[in-house]
Symmetry: C2
Subunit: 322 residues, 2 copies
């Protein structure tokens, strides 16, 4: 890595930004150095995480949101994340045709990400990609997920503003999902609001929201949109900016950021530790041999794991020694 | 742990089974010893993993499947897993009213599980709970998930038979999910098959299936059911048993079991390593202090993680020394 490469990212050179993101995705050896150099320049943009059940129209909503921010002369990054696609190797969302106007706008950066490999860490990789866009000076970065599983929740809750998108008349099982993601929603959007059942969905949502009070005192607003007709987008943006302003004033803001930072440290450690130990504790092919022995019930997996963990030692840090 | 406790589990003493599962969920200190003692007694029952989009009627289907297996005089375990509910602390699925007949049948064991805490590991915990039910002599263990995210895929792919449930007339976004979970489906069920659009959904599914050929030569069948009317359940069970018999004959069976075992070792290591290192590398409160420093942008998270990882060392195993 050269200082000039970092300088090009900070100057929002599109090719440098794209290359930095690829380095993060591929876990290139210099990815960490780049992120370290960019870190002091982060924290200026606003990251908006958007999740919701499949079919809720999140993609259209994100497109319209981005277009609206462009009318406000904000630069926009869009990251479409698809953790439900572990086997594809590529990101399905990337295949969708984004609004032509967005794709041709040099002030809009669009990128898809999907889970690859066993080591996971999509949430961490997403946070790092957001950091690159933030350092590159994108004013608003929209992180859109395809579904509403644990991975999506992990990703969206690292955003500055978390949006949950619903649609009228979802089935009973959606109730279960709603309950799971209720706590991460700073703003709720009922998209496709021209459909029957919008009142009922809103009533149910209000009931659910009334059951849970937030420690910061924020009352998550409910915004109705029809993304395909560009309806309700101004209100949606107003709600986002209102919440962002609210957070700025809060002393709770640092606490939330610290909580996000702690999650991020733990996530990052989880992955790096596993990688290091897999590399050091096992000879090439040994893990596979052990797995064959477990499959044949000659070895039990619990003893194997215990043996490895018991062999791990952590040297004292310099701080601790002094 | 006493040998008599293990003996009671093996004799399918319901209270002992329930207690063992609680120990696994709470990560009790003797959970690992219990699992080690049970391990040689596992591998006799058949584990059936069931996933699919919310609203597909998986719960009804699982209830009817269990009831049908009871008419065949099979004992049945049911584990309802909800990874999308990280904050609730309890399992939402457990609140649903299961068929009265099942709940009162001493040969049916029903348990709900949800993600708790930061350390995750729901897939591992589920595998361990399945092992308890397997050792306790349950002939068929049904593992039902609420959604179709990465966690659900991780859970369902550890089953002997993986079922993907669809419904007619799902929206466009479902296509994306379908593609993500296509590769784990040994059997596909179109539930609510009385609805309009069932032919179209089946045609689309056939097209998707034709695009991907399995290395083991199995052609996943498509079964139509109307779970609420108990229709198609016999055919569904026939498909499951047919696939189980197919797998038994395969030399590929050991390879698949080894691949599952390897995943399981890695998952288990990931979690245990993190826990050990968090405990040993940081003084109480230190991680939180570091997170505050990151939030205030006084420290960068990448250097903190690198420092910890560089301090981790793995002692040689006895096998390696000789």
């Amino acid at each position: 890595m050269t200082a000039s490469f970092v300088a090009r990212i900070l100057a929002r050179d599109l090719r440098a930004v794209a290359r930095a993101i690829s380095k993060i995705e591929n876990d290139a050896s210099d990815a960490s150095d780049i992120l370290k150099a960019l870190f002091p320049h982060t924290g200026r943009g606003l990251t908006i995480g958007i999740t919701g059940a499949p079919g809720a129209g999140k993609s259209s909503l994100v497109d319209k949101l981005a277009a609206y921010y462009r009318t406000l002369e904000k630069t926009v990054g869009i990251i479409a994340v698809d953790p439900s696609s572990p086997f594809s190797g590529g990101a399905i969302l990337g295949d969708r045709i984004r609004m032509q106007a967005l794709a041709n706008d040099p002030h809009v950066f669009i990128r898809s990400m999907a889970t690859r490999g066993n080591l996971g860490g999509l949430a961490r990789a997403t946070v790092d990609v957001v950091a690159v866009l933030d350092a590159a000076g994108y004013d608003r970065t929209l992180v859109e997920t395809v579904g509403v599983g644990q991975d999506e929740v992990d990703i969206v809750k690292t955003a500055d503003v978390s949006i949950v998108v619903l649609v009228p008349g979802m089935g009973d099982d959606i109730q279960a999902i709603k309950a799971g993601i209720m706590e991460i929603g700073d703003i709720f959007v009922i998209n496709k609001a021209e459909r029957d059942g919008v009142e009922r969905t809103e009533r149910e949502l209000i009931t659910l929201l009334e059951m849970s009070e937030r420690s910061d005192g924020w009352r998550p607003p409910i915004v109705r949109t029809v993304a395909t007709q560009n309806k309700g987008i101004a209100e949606f943006v107003a709600a986002i900016e209102q919440y962002a302003a609210f957070r700025q004033q809060q002393t709770a803001s640092l606490v939330r950021r610290a909580s996000i930072a702690e999650n991020r440290l733990v996530e990052s450690l989880r992955e790096r530790l596993l990688r290091r130990v897999l590399h050091e504790a096992f000879a090439p092919g040994q893990l596979h041999e052990l797995a064959m022995a477990v499959a044949a019930r000659q070895r039990d997996p619990y003893s194997i794991v215990e043996d490895v963990v018991s062999r791990v030692h952590i040297a004292k840090s310099e701080e601790q020694e002094h």
